[in-house]
Amino acid sequence: MSAPGFDVERIRKDFPVLARELPGGRPLVYLDSGNSSQKPAQVIETMRDHLTWHYGNVGRALHVLGSESTEAYEAARDKIAAFVKAPSRDEIVFTKNASEALNLVAYAFGNPVGEDERFRIGPGDEIVISEMEHHSNIVPWQLLAQRTGATLRWFPVTDEGRLDVEGLEELVNDRTKIVSITHQSNVLGTVNSVSPILARAREVGALMMLDASQSVPHQPVDVTELGVDFVAFTGHKMVGPSGIGVLWGRRELLDAMPPFLGGGEMIEAVWMDRSTYAPVPHKFEAGTPPIVEAIGLGAAADYLTAVGMDQIKAHEKELVAYALEALPEVPGLRIIGPRTPIARGGTISFTLEGIHPHDVGQILDDVYGIAVRVGHHCARPLHLRFGIPATTRASFYLYNTTAEIDALVRGLHHVQKVFG
């Protein structure tokens, strides 16, 4: 029943680790892609080839290797720009990860180096996030509020695990400077509807940012169509390497923002007492960047594009629909998040009555080779909201199969036997 042309068995062959046998002869069942995805040979080979034959520093070396590296690094920027349909390649800023991209924007606010009115913030101003955020879209804004005296506010989450936008008009108001929410929850799987919130942000003159770490890898994302001001995502969740993330921002805003980190490559001219800065994106890329990681991310974007983001989205939708049917068969299992495969991605978090997620994860791993994530998934406030300390989370990607979901269900029945 897969999307036409989508052959999961062929895709699995691209990911060498999926054929790995774990100690004790267990096959690997990798259901932790929401945490970090596995890498296809195409990405690994691109990185190996670059390190072996083309490596030099970027943007400054005049020799052959330096220019080959620079070319490959900048070509990766083109690929990422095309992947998220950015109007300009200069709007793609390479960061270390999504957290750094979020921090970069948070530190643009209330910064005396910047003069733009839109980034001025102080007591009486408000920042709006939500209760379903990853810590990386909470803590930078808490720090901003502490630095400037602004007030941090948030959307609540409904019992079903959807964003509660009932108080939108009051929550996003004339005092709001920025709204920053997740595009897709890393715990609930919920895909948030951006347009009503964006419309309200525009009405009151606030900026809007999306943490798209969990959406860009799993569905076609068009930053122009989304219409927001900033989008953050990370390489390692989209079959690329770790150590590379992306901030997309509107050119005009990036130009208006002060630099984030100071150092080599982000300058135009330096005197002992002052500096002028390079144009974007280089203004935000101080120091030697993660060169090979960026190139690997470019290869990841090529890989995903070749498979087809629509196909990947359709495949994951099938998997999540299958899992939402199969998992409730396990006695005592409670899904935290939407129970219908509508406006949700392939991430399912759940509790098993009376059994701690650490024990669930340990038995699944050690008996069946099933890799899931257990804990609060860097979203502690969301777990507090549901009155639970932790959950077990299975997250699917293009290479997962319904047979692996069957294995998970079998594993959970066994967990019940051990601890029941």
Binding site: G24, H358, D359, D366, V367
Partner: protein, 145 residues
């Protein structure tokens, strides 16, 4: 089948039927310890007599089977012993847990706590086993002022 060697029958028994659970009065010191990586937590109280005898170790908390069973075993071993004896058990238990599975446990000292030997092979779980034991050590130090 590696983990099932970690989940010894004795650990599961203590997890399902925790001994001495619940906070009790009187007490000399109370501490609250958390494991920030997993959110496990324990509140623990100790009552020590003038002669150095541990009259009660009472506790409450939440967490995985390993952390909860370890608290229960601690209660059994420490209550009724002396501060000095129980600290030597804590020391041996810590040595075992931090030994990456390479340490031969001293059964005479550890008693039932020897059942946790398998946990030492799982670095991510060692903190679970040690949570209540470190809280106990901390509480004793505070009670001694």
């Amino acid at each position: 089948m590696i983990a099932e060697s970690m989940y010894q029958e004795l650990i599961l028994e203590h997890y399902k039927h925790p001994q001495g659970r619940g906070l009790r009065d009187p007490y000399d010191a109370e501490v609250h310890h958390v494991n920030p990586t997993c959110g496990d937590e324990v509140t623990l109280r100790v009552k020590v007599a003038d002669g150095g005898k541990v009259l009660d170790v009472s506790y409450d908390g939440q967490g995985c089977s390993i952390s909860q069973a370890a608290a229960s075993v601690l209660h059994e071993l420490a209550t009724g012993s002396t501060v000095e004896e129980s600290l030597s058990v804590v020391e041996e238990f810590t040595r075992l847990m931090q030994g990456r599975g390479q340490v031969e446990p001293d059964e005479d000292v550890l008693g039932d706590a020897v059942a946790f030997a398998g946990v030492a092979k799982f670095p991510a779980r060692v903190k679970c086993a040690l949570l209540a034991w470190m809280a106990y050590k901390d509480a004793l130090m505070r009670s001694q002022g």
